[in-house]
Amino acid sequence: MATAHKVDGTIIIAIPADVADRFHLDEGVEVEIDPTEEGIFLRPVGVAPWFSVEWERALNAVWEQYGELLAKLDTPPEEPPVEPPAAEGQA
């Protein structure tokens, strides 16, 4: 939740830092303002793609189910240690 303030006849809304970070919103970024029936949509323009909430929810579900195991997938399976050949004269 953010609170609107009036400054010099303009309405200013402070967007929380975590929300701004997520959408790559920083000083100087242009924002498209789209008034609709549901409310006012703000869309940063010319920034890198932000992580969609739906895809993040899906990643959370996968991580919850298999997180630690995903970390093992790029590690070759452990092979049993090879016994070095006994040197001549040894038992």
């Binding site: 890198a48 793609p49 932000w50 992580f51 969609s52 739906e54 895809w55 993040e56 899906a58 990643l59 579900a61 996968v62 991580w63 189910q65 298999y66 997180g67 195991l69 995903l70 970390a71 093992k72 997938l73 790029d74 399976p77």
Partner: protein, 134 residues
């Protein structure tokens, strides 16, 4: 194949997805996604699945063979984990989960990635572990 609620993998969203995954895996972010190669895989797999009138699991199987065996060509770091997580998340977005026992999961995914199995094996085996979610 596609119905009203079908969601496909979006190459643009794959970039932040991959970054978030690497962060959770404790990796440094110096990794890249080859978006052109990924798009090409996605298109080819969709065409093959549609040509077979395949369902979601069939498309998953095609994607698994393409992406999980691609070594570092699509995902420059942790390629098998990245492909697996992306495909499982995509399944989830389509209301489906692959439910494997933890001790089976790693072996099955590494076997697919190593190239030791065919499409029909992947489809037939994984199909029995698909569950609806949500």
């Amino acid at each position: 194949m596609a119905n009203g609620g079908f969601v496909y993998i979006d190459p643009e969203q794959t970039v932040p997805f991959y970054s978030a995954l690497l962060e959770r895996l404790g990796e440094t972010p110096d990794a890249t996604v080859n978006a052109g190669r990924l798009s090409s895989h996605l298109d080819r797999c969709m065409q093959m699945a549609q040509g077979e009138r395949g369902d979601l699991v069939r498309l998953f199987s095609h994607l698994a063979l393409q992406l999980m065996r691609d070594k570092e060509r699509t995902f420059s770091k942790r390629p098998v984990a990245a492909a697996t997580a992306l495909l499982l998340a995509w399944l989830y977005r389509n209301g489906t989960a692959l439910v494997l026992e933890p001790d089976e999961f790693v072996g099955v995914m590494q076997t697919i990635a190593s190239g030791g199995v065919y499409l029909e094996d992947v489809d037939g085996y994984l199909r029995q572990y698909m569950r609806q979610v949500g």
